[in-house]
């Protein structure tokens, strides 16, 4: 009997000791980073680069393990992390769709279910055509679209996703009508289709089109932002090209986040580490090569951006439903 109780005490103290050790230092094991997008896409490469640079800020031997869960437009991956234990070992690269899907009945989770850490991407949205397209500038394009409503084929990477809503916003503000062609395979599929000349235009992120634009196969007509995009300084904003401000500002962000109610000390640890990463010139140089502009939006700023877009898209989606 005595033996058993001794054993019991020993066991208890072992368990207790372990629990204590975990409380003192975070992280003690590898951190899983769910990427709710397909491997090789812009979100994927941005995330992988971000966590690669962040590895050095973590204790030795701890790595971030990327895990692609693109199913269901990424909702499955978001849910997976939102429902996980807030212990800091499971993070997710939320994307701008998180600000839209809840209003479309596609996602049971919203920005409130996550604790934002850092923004990896906050790129504007661009309108791209083939280099030999008859549309030489944005004005041409809009006039062309007005001339044959519902005929100009506009590729997007999934209905209800950011690029589709951007196209809807153009339709609404400029009184045109497109024929929307969704490519659930992702942004690279829209680029392939445009290069092949099967569709007339696409709305996408600058990074997805960069190599084709550099090679002269595609042409960017306009940036949906308040200022020009640094990597394509010759491309006008919608405001400049059309000579009027229509409030067409859309950005596709990707914010690394943990589940809601992430303990204060873990959040601080992660925001400090990732904050250092996004400020480092090495990281900024690396993602510039991929056509992504470095941004420093950390912690509370990222939370503000998520909330702001959540409210913006709520209005936009409700208005588009009314029509």
């Amino acid at each position: 009997m005595k033996k058993i109780s001794v054993l019991f005490v020993a066991l208890l103290s072992a368990i207790g000791g372990q629990a204590l050790a975990q409380n003192i230092t975070y992280p003690t094991k590898n951190i899983e980073v769910v990427i709710p997008k397909g491997a090789g896409g812009p979100t994927d490469t941005a995330t992988r680069t971000l966590i690669e640079f962040a590895k050095n800020k973590m204790p030795k031997g701890i790595i971030f393990v990327p895990d692609n869960k693109p199913a269901g437009n990424g909702v499955a991956g978001l849910l997976d992390v939102a429902k996980s234990k807030p212990d800091g070992y499971k993070l997710v690269m939320t994307t701008v769709e998180l600000a839209m899907f809840p209003h479309e009945g596609k996602s049971p989770v919203t920005y409130a279910d996550f604790t934002p850490i850092v923004a990896g991407v906050a790129d504007p949205v661009v309108l791209v055509v083939k280099a030999d397209s008859p549309y030489k500038n944005l004005k041409d394009f809009i006039e062309g679209a007005k001339a044959k409503p519902g005929k100009v084929q506009m590729g997007n990477s999934g209905m209800g996703a950011v690029y589709h809503l951007a196209a809807l916003n153009i339709e609404r503000k400029l009184g045109v009508k497109f024929n929307h062609v969704p490519f659930t395979e992702g942004a690279s599929a829209t680029v392939a289709s445009l290069v092949g000349g099967h569709i007339d235009a696409i709305i996408t992120g600058p990074s997805a089109a960069k190599s084709q634009v550099d090679a002269g196969a595609l042409r960017i007509l306009g940036v949906m932002d308040t200022k020009r995009f640094e990597l394509f300084p010759d491309v006008p904003t919608f405001q400049e090209a059309l000579g009027q401000d229509l409030g067409l500002h859309m950005r596709a962000w990707a914010i690394l986040a943990g589940p809601a109610k992430l303990p204060e000390n873990i959040t601080r640890e992660l925001t400090t580490a990732f904050g250092d990463v996004v400020k480092s010139p090495e990281y900024q140089a690396a993602i510039k090569k991929m056509g992504i502009m470095p941004v420093v939006i950390v912690g509370k700023d990222a939370a503000a951006m998520m909330k702001e877009d959540h409210d913006t898209y709520k209005v936009l989606i409700e208005e588009s439903k009314k029509k």
Binding site: E32, G38, A39, G40, G41, D44, T45, R48, T49, E52, I63, V65, P66, D67, N68, K69, A71, G72, N73, V75, A76, L79, D80, E104, K106, G150, Q153, G158, M159, G160, A161, N179, H180, V181, P182, F183, T184, E185, S188, A189, V191, A192, S193, V195, G196, H198, I199, K210, S211, Q212, D214, A215, G216, A217, A286, K289, M290, G291
Partner: protein
């Protein structure tokens, strides 16, 4: 020329060669384990490449890529369980051949065919990649749809026992593929508010359940009924295939290599489709179509040559356009980005050394893969000698581990078990598994592209007939679908009338 020499010296350094070897070795093992696929192998090892200097990491990934596609055939031939989706077609003839006591011959042929397919596609990558890339982007939604329909039509030729049961299996596969998000409107289908189903049923757990888990149950039943009555394995006398075999399968290998390279180059299609298409075409052109399904040497060679040719093909759009040709190259794209290589039209002029390094690396990776395959042939064939009561629990454990690792969820393990039981029942009812798998692989491709075509043409169906490539595929699909049913009747009628030329006889037997 200078670029090629610089590239060659990079590849033939001891360090790089070792990395390609390790990559290929890891790839073969990952490929051979049921549930661990090519994509997972590359995703698993990709983080390692961040730490390597320059191109070494990418060379290692090429090794993994080639090794894993080949590795799947080992388990397919020896234990009737495809290691990866790309080798699901290999079991159709590989396992029957192994049962005849010719596992060594089957493995030798599959290894040789993998090598031939891989080298052929590497040559295509070097010589005609700009042309291939043009072909790949020239295809649009109607062609993708017709290609998928053509793939689905294969069902009638891989279901040897009963065509009707094959079609039923195919329909089941198409249904499974429909569960989840609607690809066009992003609405939910058959999800019943389940979070798991919202993302659709993952393909790998289904595959592992249907092939591996059900096989485990069959073996359990066998040993319960009265132990092991298997043929004693004939000792392996030679490792390389005989000259006679090689001569016989060479046209098949070449045909499959061409099919595999082209399918690889088309974005969004990969080894799983290429191997089934190669198999069917081998059967269509074979002088002995009746041997297929019973251990035909061409039936083993075709899917392997086709699947491994995908590697070179899939690199074509990746390097020339910056658009990945299949899932594995999509993951590799990240590794290229990290090394600061912006893929696309400018890669060849801006980074000629790196491009040549990849070219040479792909040849070396294929040779390494074959060397590992041939060297390990004797030991891997010993799996056949392991008593079933020991082998089956090991395989079932691997099944569970493999399915768990797909999405890191236990639900996938239960899906595997559920489909294992379903597969067992279907086996008892003389259904074959391949039609179900083909339905799952090609269902989404057919559906998405049919609907996309109609969106693009604004509801006009005539595009399917006016586009030559699309129409050709559809005609072949209809022929493939109906020849096994109508063919014999036409032949009988023809024979009654005039005795018919030999050509019709060959067609009638398909």
């Amino acid at each position: 020329m200078n670029d090629i020499l610089t590239a060659a010296s990079a590849v033939f350094s001891l360090h790089a060669l070792l990395m390609i070897f390790l990559g290929a070795f890891a790839g073969v093992i990952i490929g051979a384990l049921p549930g661990l696929t090519v994509n997972m192998g590359i995703a698993l090892l990709m983080p390692l490449t961040f730490t390597f200097q320059g191109m070494t990491g990418i060379l290692m990934l090429l090794g993994v890529y080639c090794g894993a596609i080949y590795g799947g055939s080992i388990t397919a031939i020896l234990i009737n369980t495809p290691g990866t989706p790309a080798s699901a077609a290999t079991i159709l003839d590989g396992y029957p051949l192994a049962l005849k006591g010719e596992a060594g011959r089957a493995l030798g042929l599959s290894t040789m065919s993998s090598l031939v397919g891989g080298l052929f596609s590497a040559i295509c990558l070097v010589l005609v990649s700009p042309l291939l890339a043009k072909v790949a982007v020239g295809l649009s939604a109607p062609e993708y749809f017709s290609l998928a329909v053509f793939g689905i039509s294969i069902i009638t030729s891989v279901s040897s026992l009963s065509i009707v049961k094959g079609l039923m299996g195919g329909a089941l596969g198409l249904f499974i593929a429909m569960i989840g998000l609607d690809p066009m409107t992003a609405g939910f289908r058959y999800t019943f508010d389940s979070v798991y189903l919202m993302g659709g049923i993952s393909f790998v757990p289904v595959l592992v359940g249907l092939f591996a888990f059900s096989q485990g149950m069959v073996s359990m039943e066998d040993s319960y009924r009265g132990g092991e009555n298997r043929k004693v394995q004939v000792p392996i006398k030679r490792i390389l295939p005989t000259w006679l075999d090689m001569k016989r399968v060479f046209p098949t290998q070449m045909r499959s290599a061409i099919i595999g390279t082209i399918i690889g180059a088309i974005p969004g299609t990969g080894g799983d489709i290429a191997s089934y298409v190669s198999y069917t075409e081998a059967k269509r052109w074979s002088k002995h179509p009746e041997e297929f399904g019973h251990g035909s040497v061409e039936g083993v060679s075709a899917p392997e040559a086709g699947a491994n040719a995908v590697a070179g093909g899939a690199l074509v759009p990746l390097l020339t356009l910056g658009i990945p040709g299949d899932g594995a190259t999509a993951i590799m794209m990240g590794a290229f980005m990290v090394q600061g290589l912006s893929l696309g039209p400018l890669l060849f002029t801006e980074h000629p050394v790196e491009v040549n390094t990849i070219f040479i690396g792909l040849f070396v990776a294929n040779l390494m893969m074959a060397a590992i395959g041939f060297a390990g042939l004797r030991s891997s064939a010993k799996i056949m000698d392991v008593p079933r009561r020991i082998l089956v629990p090991i395989v079932l454990t691997l099944c569970a581990v493999g399915s768990y690792s797909v999405n890191h969820t236990m639900i996938d393990v239960f899906v595997t078990m559920g489909f294992g039981v379903l597969g067992y029942i279907l086996l008892k009812l003389d259904f074959s598994m391949s039609p179900i798998v083909i339905g799952i692989i090609l269902g989404p491709m057919a559906e998405t592209n049919l609907r996309r075509t109609l969106v693009m043409s604004q509801g006009d169906y005539s595009v399917f007939f006016t586009r030559p490539v699309c129409a050709t595929f559809l005609v072949i699909a209809v022929m493939t679908l109906f020849l096994p049913i109508v063919g014999p009747k036409v032949w009988a009628w023809w024979k009654k009338r005039s005795g018919g030329p030999a050509l019709v006889e060959a067609e009638g037997k398909e």
